[in-house]
């Protein structure tokens, strides 16, 4: 009795300081980003740096918002991200439904091939994409970027949705069909509400990935399709970015706000949806 009690007490007292250290270490960079972005210019470039702003001002945010490129980048970001999310949801839920419900040949091989194709990084195909799109004339268009982002996301999202759809028992749909529902009706009335958490988590994943993605837009896009991360990239220029550090910090914060909000809202679906399939597979 005494032995177990002693172990339990020492276990708990070790956990709290460790957790505090972890939170401190993981959050300090982002705290620093937020704090530095509200400092006036002279205080940002101070040495030794201040941990807390003496007179916080939002001047950097006003400067960035007044830049016309920023609004254009924001509009492009919203268009591209929303279209990509819708396209990914439609295409991958269709494919996952087909994989989960329709009996045919060797599913394991198909899934492995899907995963392998999803593991191909972007830069190996970026040169052929560039040449192909240049010859078709799609280089600076929204359509090309949406297409590429969708294709990048399809394998992973199909795989995750497949794991999710497989856990919904077939008997529910079959009993609906026995009661006279058509197949499409059964899908829309019974299956979709049950699969909603998985769809939400995959939608959030697609949204965040396409919002944060800058490589595709930097290589295939141009001045027409400037996206928010590419806007920040252009601000950085070459080595000496201290001169525009306030705009850089403010625009980084503004790029980061939306994904963080989305994650905060869909957080509980996220972990369940994404990792159940991956861990038990």
């Amino acid at each position: 009795m005494k032995m177990i009690l002693r172990r339990r007490i020492s276990h708990k007292t070790l956990v709290y300081p460790l957790a505090a250290i972890i939170v401190l270490v993981l959050l300090t960079p982002y705290y620093w980003l937020m704090i530095s972005s509200v400092m006036p210019r002279s205080e940002q470039l101070l040495w030794p740096p201040h941990w807390f702003p003496t007179n916080p001002s939002l001047h950097a945010y006003y400067e960035v918002l007044e830049t016309p490129r920023f609004l254009q980048a924001f509009k492009n970001s919203v268009i591209i991200t929303a279209s990509t999310t819708i396209a990914v949801l439609i295409a991958s839920s269709l494919a996952a439904y087909g994989l989960a419900r329709i009996p045919f040949g060797n599913k394991k091989i198909l899934l492995t091939v899907l995963l392998l194709i999803g593991g191909v990084p972007f830069w190996i195909c970026c040169i052929p994409y560039f040449i192909m799109f240049r010859n078709i004339g799609l280089i600076d268009t929204h359509f090309a970027i949406i297409l590429l982002l969708t294709v990048r996301l399809l394998p992973i999202t199909s795989w995750v949705l497949f794991g999710f759809f497989k856990s919904i028992p077939v008997e529910i749909e079959e009993s609906a069909r026995v009661d006279g529902c058509s197949r499409i009706g059964a899908i829309f009335r019974i299956f979709v509400p049950l699969a909603a958490p998985g769809l939400i988590s995959v939608g959030a994943y697609a949204f965040i990935n396409s919002w944060n993605n800058f490589i595709v837009a930097a290589i295939i896009g141009g001045s027409n399709t400037i996206v928010l991360p590419v806007f920040v990239l252009n601000l950085m220029g070459s080595f000496s970015f201290e001169f525009r550090i306030d705009q850089l910090l403010a625009s980084s914060i503004m790029v980061t706000i939306l994904p963080i909000l989305i994650i905060a809202v869909t957080q509980k679906y996220f972990i369940k949806g994404l990792f159940t399939g991956a861990v038990k597979a």
Partner: protein
């Protein structure tokens, strides 16, 4: 109005007829995804494979979509015999894989173990990796180059306060210090996903295993070695495979901040492919490099995946 209702009824009727026939329905389900994947994944892969045997430079692109000069295995020979930069990038990648597997994985495992405990406020702390994951990579690169800044960076200040150094270190200019920045930023890029994955795996371990072993008198260390680690073996192997693949494909930090400086010390293999292809326009050579890199990635993934128990 009546025409619209008729149209709607016809479309729904068509959809229902598609739904009744299982084979056709399956075909319609797969068509968008398969078409996109074949056109935009498989075709460019084949195309780049064919290009890697040709010489394809800037003036060639202007005139034709197919390269004009066939040079066989020249590119592959060149990258292993004459290209010093490529060898340096391979060494760099080994350093970062070692840092990833030797430092990131144990630390993330430890963090996941702590987050697995039940204490007051644990739900709030578990949200932190999820939020970290959503931060765009541009912002992360900016944060790290700003924190490690040569003159006014936070790290220099902390080291000065602790008394370790007296003059600030210019991190971006030294060979090993620049590699250190990349390794630290890689830790923060990759740790959210790894922590969440390991945490999910740890929460799937049934509690009765621990309880029965405690009744049998096992110490905490024995419990860890014999119950925890084998139960999450799959997740650990997946984490190793992912970390290896991410460190081979490291692209963001050099692309945004260092561009390979100083003198190729932070050059990664994928960034070198990008440079050859888009800055120096040796497209044939770049695609040959890309294919070698892809085969290394697949090999690394295969070495890990074959140990998975599915």
């Amino acid at each position: 109005m009546k025409g619209l209702r008729e149209l709607k009824r016809k479309v729904i009727g068509l959809l229902e007829r598609i739904g009744e026939d299982p084979k056709f329905f399956g075909f319609v389900c797969f068509l968008p995804s398969i078409a996109l994947i074949i056109v935009l994944n498989i075709f460019p892969l084949v195309y780049s494979f064919l290009i890697s045997f040709c010489r394809y430079r800037l003036k060639d692109i202007a005139f034709s979509i197919w390269p004009t000069k066939f040079v066989g295995f020249n590119h592959y020979l060149r990258m292993f015999t004459r290209d010093v930069a490529w060898v340096i990038t391979m060494q760099n990648t080994i350093y970062w894989i070692a840092a990833g597997l030797g430092v990131t994985l144990p630390i993330c495992f430890g963090i996941a173990l702590v987050l697995n405990e039940e204490f007051k406020g644990v739900k709030l702390v578990r949200v932190i990796p999820t939020l970290m994951w959503a931060v765009p990579s541009i912002a992360q690169c900016l944060i790290w180059s700003w924190i490690f800044h040569g003159e006014i960076g936070l790290v220099n200040n902390v080291l000065r306060v602790l008394g370790i150094i007296r003059q600030p270190i210019v991190w971006l200019l030294g060979t090993w210090t620049a590699r250190g920045i990349v390794a630290v930023s890689q830790f923060f890029f990759t740790c959210p996903f790894i922590i969440l994955m390991l945490l999910a795996a740890l929460q799937g371990v049934p509690k009765y295993l621990y309880e029965s072993s405690m009744l049998d008198g096992a110490s905490a260390l024995k419990r860890f070695i014999h119950i925890t680690v084998p139960s999450i073996k799959n997740a650990l192997i997946t984490a190793t495979a992912l970390l290896t693949m991410w460190n081979i494909n490291l692209f963001t930090f050099p692309f945004v901040i260092t561009k390979g400086d100083p003198f190729f010390a932070t050059e990664t293999m994928s960034f070198y492919v990008y440079q050859q292809g888009f800055e120096w326009w040796n497209i044939g050579y770049a695609t040959a490099l890309a294919w070698v890199l892809l085969s290394m990635t697949i090999f690394g993934a295969y070495l890990n995946i074959r140990r998975l128990e599915i």
